[in-house]
Symmetry: C2
Subunit: 391 residues, 2 copies
């Protein structure tokens, strides 16, 4: 039996997720288990719902983690709200909008795409035009943080356009939650899903979702069963609610991890956490630009937690990332779709978003880029970051 | 913020799952993460597939853990193999057969039930009669280990009947895998799903599945897309195969835990592990019967890892289990369906199946049962178990 594959080497995770996990969360994961109907676990479930509501900034009763990764949360939101024939408008400007179209189509939706080039936002007029093509739209879904491109999608006008047509507004906040404001209630978002392995800095495996009053009403008014038993929120809410009706065995250890990760978020405070993400993003961008690299996304639409930067001319994308992993143990993400080979995605999510990590990455870039064929001003990246941090 | 809900109290888990988790698995869960496309993680994925094949006793290439609990594996097997209108024969003699009917119906199957009373097996003639009602059956699904009743379902003749009709044979081995023989290849099972939190003694959260050549062929011959994107094995096999096409972010920490749990299974050896489960089952049953309690299931159909015993006359089910949990920190399971309030389900799964645990449980029963209104011969349970262990 091979014994050389575990434990894996230490890595600094600065890719599109998973992010670094706090030692308190790792410790929580190793706690001996209790049963999924144990009073002690039920108390933890209750507290988890409360903490999730704080992080989502919502009062929504139906706020729970789905027992799967972010993509399971995506599918849960779609299959619980869509019935065959429903019209669904989906913003498509990257991998996750594209995935939403696939999932909604499998659920029997008539999908109308609000398309924009990868690396740009979906503009309000494009969304309005897509809504014009519908008769009676059931949902509009936008991706707040497109992890495939690093684009931050503004939501407020989109919510207004959606509600004017009587549709529900659903948001993918897999990468944004706990890293920049999501504000479910203030913005008027009807349903949202996230993931644990981004700015929550918990391992992948759970997907927090929240359903507001109008989404819950749509769920109850369904004429057909939810096509997925596993993701059926009409059943899950009975396990997570006062009735405690057995559905599936909850992922106990991951629930411990999520609980501890949420506690860390609330201890830091959302505003402080958002400011930290913004500051480290600004320092990283200053450093990258000082090295002569150019960002993919225009400044006003950049995510703080996922930074897409163009691979400098003459540098081999894969060879550089391989060297960065082998020599510096740093993971960054490759470009996807039209940006394969030409863009790197640098994640500064949750625990990964720190001054030390920004310095370490810029230092590694300064050392490795010249060796891979790029001409850069020596030390300019870390110096530019220093100026941001000392400002 | 409440801080009193974590960590939870120590428990001895002798219910229907989760089971006790080995310290090596708990330690693996707390290992710092690598990325889901890291060469180190890909090596772990490859080794995990090899170990899973050993435990399933199969050469099936498509043998992977689904990123959800056992119920996600159940749904994965159904939605990948069923297309709308397909005839599916399902053995129904407990909760999980009932669940399979629900899941298959949501996938558009025409379901024919092969029904038997809870607490009994589905007899071959009942299955044959159900098959008679079909025109062109696509699948037959039986639950090898009905966790809701403790019934062990024989499979060999059922496989023959199924294959005679040209259908695929699918098995639920959530509770049986690594506790008693499953033998995918020898028995001729076409597809199977399991869970991590039973005899594998890993926390809940992953569901190992295996698809044989005929099931894989049926998957490739589909005319309609798999209704679930998250569980679509045509996409998952590309992530777990040589192509490494990104699908969803694998649950890294749970994958570490499963890897270590599988290593423990293989280190012990399947035969030794099965023998351990059988011996502890026999000692427990001897002890319970010596105390005057009666088992629900006839001897030849009893599972080794899940023991259903009737609540003695005059004993309040819930009050007794509450006392057992509060005073002895032991969890056992309640009865379900027709056995609610009248049956206890005692799990001896994986790490939970030990001589010490059998003694501890019987000792607690001997102390608590008289206090809850049962008249039992003092010390007879532990003495009867002793005789099994010293035989």
């Amino acid at each position: 039996m091979a014994t050389d594959v575990f434990p894996p080497p230490p890595r600094l995770l600065l890719g599109p997720g998973p992010s670094q996990v706090h030692p308190r969360v790792l410790k929580a994961l190793s706690t001996p288990l209790v049963g999924h109907l144990d009073p002690a676990f039920i108390a933890l479930m209750e507290e988890t719902k409360t903490l999730l509501r704080q992080v989502f900034q919502t009062k929504n009763e139906l706020t729970i983690p789905i027992s799967g990764t972010g993509s399971a949360g995506l599918e849960a939101c779609i299959v619980n709200l869509v019935e065959p024939g429903d019209e669904v408008v989906i913003g498509v400007n990257g991998v996750f909008g594209t995935r939403l179209v696939d999932v909604a189509s499998r659920a029997g939706a008539t999908v109308v795409k609000a398309e924009a080039p990868w690396g740009e936002i979906v503009p309000d007029d494009v969304l309005a035009a897509a809504l014009e093509k519908t008769k009676r739209p059931k949902l509009v879904v936008l991706v707040q943080a497109e992890t495939s491109t690093g684009v931050w999608q503004p939501l407020e006008e989109a919510v207004r356009l959606t509600h004017d047509r009587g549709a529900l507004f659903v948001v993918d906040c897999v990468t944004s939650l706990a890293g920049c404001p999501v504000e479910i209630d203030r913005v008027g978002i009807d349903a949202a899903y996230s993931g644990t392995q981004k700015c929550l800095s918990c391992p992948p495996g759970l997907s927090p979702v929240t359903f507001g009053p109008r989404a819950t009403e749509a769920l109850r008014a369904r004429k057909t069963p939810v096509q997925s038993w596993y993701l059926d929120l009409t059943m899950l809410e009975k396990y997570w609610g006062a009735e405690r009706v057995y559905h599936h065995t909850a992922p106990i250890s991951m629930s411990y991890g999520l609980y501890e990760a949420l506690r860390l978020v609330v201890e830091e405070g959302l505003d402080a956490r958002f400011a930290r993400h913004q500051r480290n993003h600004e320092a990283l961008v200053a450093g990258l630009e000082a090295l002569g690299l150019s960002m993919l996304v225009r400044p006003e639409h950049r995510l703080w937690m996922l930074n897409s930067v163009r691979v400098p001319d003459g540098v081999d994308d894969a060879a550089f990332r391989t060297a960065l992993l082998a020599e510096d143990q740093i993971e960054i993400g490759a470009g996807l779709g039209p940006f394969k080979g030409t863009v790197w995605r640098i994640g500064l999510m949750g625990e990964s978003s720190s001054e030390a990590n920004v310095r370490q990455l810029l230092g590694a870039f300064e050392r490795l880029l010249p060796r891979h064929g790029a001409t850069i001003p020596a030390g300019a990246g870390t110096q530019a970051a220093d100026r941001v941090y000392s400002a």
